[in-house]
Subunit: 328 residues, 2 copies
């Protein structure tokens, strides 16, 4: 009996989730729910239904875990609680500052529905959060640092596209090597925003646009670019398509800490990701946690959870004993 | 009310555990149990008792978690089950091939005693096992590799010390850079034992010993050195003491895997440790898991566990909500 999975929404993340489910022998995709006309949507899994988001409740009892693939800004704050009243759900809510608020809404809905809802699965929040938690617990006398990249920031790319005279753009966040090395040395440096990351922009300008002005508008944009060393490269549409169409990302979580009677010994814990496809990797994490959600629900758990609440064994298809004797 | 911790045994690992407990505001060391004459043992914690191992049962009910610090070869196989009948316990049993057997013995004892027993905490098994499990669950279509070092192997150092003509020795296990790079490239290479690690030996010979013979005896030693590229450096006692008295270690767990409809995207997950003191870091992991054992026991859990069974949040002093809103 496979775990019956639903996908709510059908963008990049959802397509990644579809791949991840199909790569998992113990899971099957039952249905994709879309706000578009279901007839207009062609999905990769022939055996799965494409249904209108409006009809999602008709599948109550027929889906073990619903993967909610909306955006964190406007979709998930209402989609995840709405669905958690009727299904076990998992999302990748990634607005760090609003996780407490999201938790409260989802917790209420999951308690009401008697379901398990896991929020903020992915890699940050997600695998990076785990790296931070484990490292802090093991080396309490220490300090951790998170670096992102090299990778595409969708939000920053969008911000550039809104600049007057810009046709299209891609922005890469790049960790500064010298900062990484300073952190690894165990010196616990205080690093400014500017010292940790640089921002590389590849911009296609409209015909006749003022390139100097575009560059200045980008570099001085508050919150997005003003606090960073930013480089702006103007390229053609062809070059953007050929060299910058991927969605790579990754990063580093590094904690250094001291042990011993007088803190005489230093230790470095480093966790890093290098990802060709940000949405597909995020979706792969979600698929593994969907398995955990199913198991927790089967055991009688109820309520809103995060990756911190999930025993690692629940992510694997293997039994606890098999894990213990094979990869422990 | 602090978590009352006992330490059974008092070698390098136990001294590290003592430091880790004293660095944790929510824990207190109650007693150290030794097979030596308790009067002969001076420990770092003035408030803790030093007691004979024979009197350990007199502390039943007064210790929340017992950290068992014996060796995996001959101590832990009987100490951990013996103690698990009366106390919540944690050990660092690290003979990978015998974990199933150890589990069975400890599980029986913990069920009988109604206790929680966590076995094989540390970094390998332990943090590295977690890195392997998470990476495999998230990237099922992939392959992982574990490299150890650069670090001191106690077992290999001991093996050299048993060679005729050797006064003292230290052995370092060193991962091969080219192998690490090949793994990170995502090419999933098949690597022989020789290709993954080299072994560096620093040997103090007895006066008049046959150095050529010692070198040959080491390099041809089955299981320990014959399958590796081994270098033997003869040094003086002073140099061994000055430059090789530490117990550093570390290593890398790297998994590469593919996602996408046709596996078109490649990903690299890497977890690494660089440790000045192997026993102190191992003990720090154990202290964090001792906190988890206490919580699981309080919740009514019973039986033998591994790090795979422990929700990460249980390792932290912080509440689940605090974790969610601070480091998730």
């Amino acid at each position: 009996m496979k775990i019956r999975v639903g996908i709510f929404g059908y963008g990049n993340l959802a397509r990644g989730a579809e791949c991840a489910i199909n790569a998992s022998p113990d899971m099957e995709l039952v249905a994709v729910f879309t706000r578009r006309d279901p007839k207009s949507l062609k999905i990769a899994t022939e055996s799965a239904a494409v249904m209108s988001a409006d009809d999602v409740l008709s599948m109550k009892g027929k889906i073990d875990v619903m993967i909610v693939c909306g955006g964190s800004a406007t979709d998930l704050p209402h989609q995840t609680p709405m669905l958690a009243e009727h299904f076990n759900v998992i999302d990748s809510f990634d607005t760090h500052a609003k996780i407490g608020e999201h938790f409260a809404a989802v917790e209420g809905a999951a308690r009401k529905g008697g379901t398990v809802a896991l929020i903020s699965a992915g890699w940050d929040p997600g695998m990076f959060s785990l790296a931070r938690l484990y490292a802090e617990a093991v080396l309490p006398n220490g300090k951790d640092y998170t670096f992102w990249g090299k990778g595409v920031s969708q939000g920053h790319s969008d911000a550039i596209r809104r600049v007057e005279g810009v046709l299209d753009a891609k922005q890469y966040t790049v960790p500064v090597d010298a900062a990484l090395e300073a952190v690894r040395s165990g010196s616990c440096p205080e690093l400014s925003t500017r010292e940790k990351h640089t921002r590389e922009c590849y911009v296609v300008a409209k015909d006749g646009a003022d390139l100097k002005k575009i560059e200045n508008d980008i570099k001085t944009m508050p919150n997005y670019f003003a606090d960073y060393d930013t480089t702006v490269n103007f390229i053609t549409e062809e070059e953007l398509r050929e060299k910058h169409s991927g969605i790579p990302h990754g990063g580093f979580v590094i904690r250094t800490g001291r042990t011993g009677k007088n803190g005489e010994h230093s230790h470095v814990i480093e966790y890093s990701l290098k990802l060709d496809s940000n949405p597909e990797f995020t979706a792969s994490v979600i698929a593994a946690y969907a398995r955990a959600v199913f198991r927790m629900a089967k055991e009688g758990s109820v309520g809103c959870k995060s990756v911190f609440d999930v025993p690692p064994a629940y992510l694997s298809e293997k039994s606890s004993f098999e894990l213990m004797t094979s990869i422990l």
